[in-house]
């Protein structure tokens, strides 16, 4: 009797171990994907699309939001954005990826500055790299991206009395690459799983 029970336990442990390997291999497989990902047309914070004359997007508010659908976990990933734009009179342009449950939790990266105040109508191109490991992915594995105009502080950019933005987004390309995550983002990533952080 005892050897049979022992054999059954061994069998169940082997089943569970193999199941764990299957689940882990699916997760690891998803970590090695790279390439271009879909990025939606920018909208304002109420979800209303900006006007698109000549297939270019005219950004008229300080905050402009897009979704990036990556179809993979954010762990050990890096986002390379290539932004083709006409800055006009904007003093600065920044972009960030949402970090936690708070809807305005962004750490914007400034990719354009103009301190002359002149109207710049020549197209410009900027490349921005953002680590994704500590960023918040929604249930459909999409990320929230936000452009900030004239202000690097999300709360100040939200100020309704100071909506001075007017620039043209000609094209945007999002590319995912693998990267070695550092300790702090990894801790934040694991904490996000344990605390069951979800996009709202």
């Amino acid at each position: 009797m005892l050897p049979k029970v022992f054999a059954a336990i061994i069998y169940l442990v082997a089943v569970c171990y193999f199941a764990l390997m299957i689940a882990a291999s699916i997760f690891v497989w998803s970590l090695i994907f790279t390439g271009n990902v879909y990025i939606s047309a920018p909208t304002n914070i109420d979800g209303i699309p900006f006007p698109q004359p000549n297939n270019e997007t005219l950004i008229t508010e300080n905050l402009a939001h897009s979704d990036i659908v990556i179809h993979q976990p954010v762990f050990a990933k890096q986002l390379n954005l290539t932004v083709d734009f006409i800055p006009r009179r904007t003093a600065s342009l920044s972009v960030g990826i949402r970090q936690n449950q708070f809807w305005l939790s962004y750490q914007p990266v400034t990719f354009y500055k103009n301190e002359t105040g002149r109207d710049i109508t020549d197209p410009q191109t900027a490349s921005i790299t953002i680590d994704l490991t500590d960023k918040l992915a929604a249930a459909d594995q999409s990320l929230d991206l936000m452009f900030f105009t004239d202000n690097n502080d999300p709360l100040k950019a939200l100020d309704e009395n100071n909506q001075t933005a007017l620039w043209t987004l000609r094209n945007i390309n999002a590319h995912i690459k693998t990267t070695q995550p550092t300790i702090l983002p990894t801790i934040r990533f694991l904490r996000g799983i344990l605390l069951r952080e979800r996009a709202v």
Binding site: A19, I22, A23, A139, Q141
Partner: protein
């Protein structure tokens, strides 16, 4: 080990893996792709059906 025994082992493993992935998606849905859990579940059911067929033929 007979073919049906191997298939049953794989079927059980896929069904347990499906449960694991469902649990992980419940904890943090962005960890696994949306269809990972259902795909594993259907693979488990398919293997279980195959095991029954193998057992039937063997008998």
């Amino acid at each position: 080990m007979k073919l049906e025994q191997v298939t049953i082992f794989l079927a059980l493993s896929f069904l347990v893996a499906s449960t694991l992935v469902t649990a992980m998606r419940w904890l943090q849905s962005a960890l696994f792709t949306p269809y990972a859990d259902t795909s594993l579940f259907y693979a488990g059911i398919l293997l279980l059906t195959l095991a029954i067929v193998f057992y039937w033929n063997h008998e």
